[in-house]
Homo-oligomer: 333 residues x 2
């Protein structure tokens, strides 16, 4: 645990996003003596999460599970257990942590209680807060007029550019999420799929108002790579502009952008998927709305695909420790 010398009371940091981006940011932040809350998108309906959501009528647990593991201070075996994915038999494709949260929701009758109990077992530092405990169904409108329903369908569609995302039904942001934002010192909008991981959080009723009202500084961590259909050909400026369409302008205080280029080998792998390095083009456009913070934020570890995992995982990631240091600089300013 790294003690921060110059703070009288613990700084409060809230992260907002899906599973992957939250995981990266939380893994770095948890090493510091701060108060962490992770607010998690509840629109997920793919993979193991989607099957359980459909079959058992439980809330989506995949992103929650990743945040719980990121904040866990339990022995490694328990973290491994929560991330374990069955490779064979009738349970193939199911992630143990999802089954755990699903069964616990059935037993407790409340998803929030399931998350709390799982958090105790995993001995998490801080809190994991579902953005809402009402089922979120994401809808996307594409530039050619097409519409698609469901987070996983939208995330895997590659043909047309998304115009906007909305929710099928209004859902209410959980009280805990609103409180965490209002009481925090720094809110981190984490990287990840823009329309399917980050923005769904903003669609929950009450969320944008909380972000506008809080005295906390708000920092947006821009993605490293573009994604077809979602953010094709985006530079950093486009990412921020898109987020501001949902949040309004003058809400984001800082934008954190990586400026180190990935290796040619990794860039080539992405190019095959028609995905590219996000150019740190913010400096080129004069703006006074937010401060731009740049630096090398890339992880040197190349992430491999898990063969038991049918989902495609990106192999270039932010470095958790570099991110954490950059974020703590903001809260200690």
């Amino acid at each position: 645990m790294v003690k921060l010398m110059d703070q009288a009371i613990k700084k409060k940091i809230v992260t907002i996003g899906g599973g992957t981006g939250n995981f990266t940011v939380l893994s770095g932040l948890k090493k510091y003596d701060i108060d962490i809350s992770a607010i998690v998108n509840m629109a997920d309906d793919g993979g193991s999460t989607g099957v359980l959501r459909h079959e058992l009528g439980v809330l989506p647990s995949g992103d929650i599970r990743q945040c719980l593991v990121a904040l866990s201070e339990a022995p490694e075996v328990l973290r491994d257990l929560f991330l374990y994915r069955f490779g064979i038999g009738g349970l193939a494709g199911h992630n143990f942590g999802n089954i755990f949260l699903g069964a616990l929701e059935k037993v407790t009758n409340r998803f929030e209680d399931a998350v709390l109990v799982a958090g105790k077992i995993l001995n998490i530092k801080g809190k994991v807060i579902p953005v809402t405990v009402e089922p979120m169904v994401l809808l996307a409108e594409y530039e050619n007029g097409k519409t698609l329903k469901g987070q996983s369908k939208i995330a895997n569609y590659k043909k047309h550019k998304i115009k906007k995302v909305v929710l099928e039904n209004e859902v209410h942001t959980s009280y805990e999420a609103i409180q965490a934002i209002l009481e925090s010192d720094l809110v981190v909008l984490t990287p990840g799929d823009l329309y399917t991981s980050l923005i769904p959080n903003f669609l929950s009723f009450g969320m944008t108002e909380a972000l506008r009202r809080t005295k906390a500084k708000i920092v947006y961590v821009v993605n490293l790579m573009t994604k077809r259909a979602e953010t094709h050909a985006f530079g950093a400026y486009n990412f921020v502009e898109e987020v501001e369409k949902y949040l309004g302008v003058n809400v984001i205080d800082y934008v954190l952008v990586n400026t180190a280029s990935p290796s040619e080998e990794i860039a080539d792998l992405y190019k095959k998927e028609n995905e590219h390095f996000v150019s740190p083009d913010l400096d080129k456009i004069g703006n006074t709305r937010y401060k731009i913070i740049t630096g090398d934020l890339i992880s040197q570890i190349v992430f491999e695909k898990n063969p038991a995992d049918k989902l495609k995982r990106s192999i270039l990631r932010h470095d958790s420790d570099k991110l954490a240091r950059a974020l703590l600089n903001l809260v200690l300013l």
Copy 2:
């Protein structure tokens, strides 16, 4: 916790059996300040346990799970979670605790470690010890010459009388089980299906020798009801005689037999299945091999069948507290 006044060091009690009998005995004993170890049959291959055993190649967890829950001092929600059985979807029929132990065995690569970790999460009092960590395959020979393979097939077969059970392959009793027996003050042979829950333990190499060598008193708790094919028309004497075929004579020190009759209503329910109250006929036969202890050991709670549970469950059970008091009398003699 009930403190026992007249003991300088904690008494050590070992129970041996399957899931149900162990559960009943352990639930009562855990309320006392004693050192408890539960040794558990590993021949189970039915239901959720059997599916996981077959599909994932893990060891059978159903009986272990019941013992873990019996000894758990964790909040009720965790005990409920471990007993939770999925009623719908692709997980239907699976018991959460079995999935938990299966995934944990995959993650740790050692069933013993999975049981230890689960025991920590469930905050168990004492130890749960698999009789062996090698796969046990039970074979039954019937009086008409027929043979059957597999614990669940044997347990559900109702047509002919079992002559004897053996194992397909030799397995070794775990070191922990041997040690627990050798160091204990009292060994309890718990009630339950005679040939498919209790006796398989005795077939594991080393077990009968440990039971013959230990200085511990050995008490056998006779079943309340007969079971077709397994113990049809058995009186208490037949039960003991059968156990002695596997253990040898002069190994059992005490036989604990219920003498209270069940209500007519319950007796009628069993009669429909051609199952009957076990007559406490031990007194009729003069023997000096073991002491007979009799009393009202019946639970006043009528156990209902769980609709999500396809297995038939008996509705007449021993009373955990009455059993515990009778057993503690033996260890404090």
